[in-house]
């Protein structure tokens, strides 16, 4: 009977591939047995079949019984931090894009309609992208938690009361504002890179309007966008972990250092490419009247511009070291006060 096949399909389809064939055969036998009890002649009616399937219950419930456990993409343990992160990311994407739109509208007011269309489009595409990335990151975190624990729901079987974490006091706790600020910064940075890298430059306001002399070559920079995505994912991964753990631990410090080092290495890789810089920067600055040959500091600026990669890489390296030192210090203070 076709209805029975449909039922069996609905059950087995939700089960692991290698069990399907056997459970299908088992269910077929069972349903035939149950039908036979209702209509001995083997002439079961449609109503008989329906009542048998009713008795077996909803195919999803039966499949769940066979599986014996529930499966999640985002488990209940990390669902709340997931929602928090998602909200922060989506809101900051909205704010960042709106701010960019406002700036663009001020810089080139005559193209406002065009800006508005692209604003709506990017609002949608960036929203979808962020949703996808946050979900991926949390799915991965949840998967790792499941791998590391023997019991279900991320709980360890050999649990000892001594393992209980101390009640967090204000010192050990990571303030919610830190990861939130981190996410907002990451999103702002990413949105800027993705949509309006040419806004990063020297702004010149004159009577005729506003001009921006960009530092970077937008076309070459386009090629580095995949790296920007990796940077964003790393940043949000780190902040998500902070929101989940909410504590300064050795592991969190290690993660922070790893992400910081990886981030600065990636940024330096991008900046070390000579083609990334706007090669017409000096000419454009001269044309705009910001720089004049022979003027005060002209030579200094030229020589600085020629060594801008080195300067930036040095600055980024310094910042990374400072950041790692300050995070380590905060962690050390927490550890010292706990011990």
């Amino acid at each position: 009977m076709e209805m029975i096949d449909r039922y069996i399909y609905a059950v087995t389809q939700r089960l692991p591939e290698q069990q399907r064939a056997e459970i299908k055969q088992e269910l077929q036998g069972l349903i035939e047995d149950m039908l036979e009890e209702r209509a001995p002649a083997g002439q079961a009616s449609r109503e008989d079949a329906e009542s048998v399937l009713q008795e077996l219950g909803h195919p999803n419930a039966l499949a769940a019984q066979y599986r014996g456990f529930d499966r999640y993409l985002i488990g209940p343990l990390i669902f709340d931090p997931y929602l928090t992160t998602l909200k922060i990311v989506l809101i900051s994407v909205g704010i960042a894009l709106t701010a960019l739109f406002a700036i663009e509208a001020i810089v080139k007011p005559q193209e406002i309609l065009e800006h508005f269309t692209s604003y709506l489009v990017s609002l949608f595409s960036a929203g979808a992208q962020s949703f996808c990335w946050v979900t991926l990151i949390f799915a991965w975190i949840g998967y790792r938690q499941q791998q590391n624990s023997t019991g279900p729901d991320g709980m360890n079987k050999d649990w000892k009361p001594a393992d209980l974490p101390p009640i967090p006091d204000m010192h050990t706790q990571i303030k919610m504002s830190e990861p939130i600020a981190g996410i907002i910064f990451t999103v702002l940075f990413t949105v800027l890179c993705l949509y309006s890298i040419d806004l990063l430059g020297i702004w010149r306001v004159s009577d005729g309007g506003r001009t921006v002399i960009p530092f970077l070559n937008a076309d070459v920079f386009q090629g580095y966008l995949p790296l920007i995505w990796i940077l964003a994912a790393l940043g949000i991964l780190k902040e998500s972990m902070s929101i989940i753990v909410r504590k300064r631990t050795g592991k969190m410090l290690a993660l922070h250092i790893m992400v910081s080092v990886a981030t600065s290495v990636l940024v330096c890789v991008i900046l070390a490419d000579p083609a990334i810089w706007n090669s017409h920067f000096i000419q454009q600055a001269e044309a705009a009247g910001i720089l004049s040959p022979g003027g005060e500091g002209y030579d200094t600026i030229i020589s600085m511009w020629n060594r801008v990669s080195e300067w930036m890489i040095t600055v980024i390296g310094l910042f990374t070291v400072l950041d790692i030192l300050s995070e380590s210090y905060k962690w050390y203070r927490v550890k010292a006060s706990a011990g």
Binding site: L30, E55, G57, A61
Partner: protein
């Protein structure tokens, strides 16, 4: 207020869930297929849904309490389950524990019943 019968039924089905395993193991010193087991248990007053029993049989097999063979000689191929030596040992252990449980529960319930009804001390 919640319905008394409804609450009792809910709690009872929780109590029954654990006893089904003992019921199943008790009937499998001879090979049986799933649906015959449903009928046998029902006759003996232990009602169990086929939708609960079939997955349970697979689980018990995975835990190595049961062994299974497919019988394809009959008109309809059937999977027969049989208690493994390990399962037999587990079943006997469970029976011992069950009897102890009955004794302690009887003791507990006897106390309160006696106390309430006759007020003896």
């Amino acid at each position: 207020m919640a319905d008394v019968n409804e609450t009792i039924n809910g709690l009872l089905s929780e109590l029954r869930r654990g006893t089904i395993v003992i019921g199943v193991l008790s009937q499998l010193s001879e090979p049986q297929y799933g649906y015959s087991l449903v009928t046998v248990l029902e006759e003996k007053g232990v009602a169990v849904d086929a939708g609960t029993l079939y997955p349970l049989l697979r689980r018990l097999e995975k835990q190595e309490l049961l062994e299974s063979t497919w019988d394809t000689n009959e008109a309809r191929p059937r999977k027969y389950y049989l208690l493994s030596p390990f399962g037999k040992e587990v079943y006997e252990g469970l029976c011992r524990e069950w009897r102890k449980l009955i004794i302690s529960m009887e003791g507990i319930m006897g106390e309160t019943e006696g106390g309430e009804r006759y007020g003896d001390d």
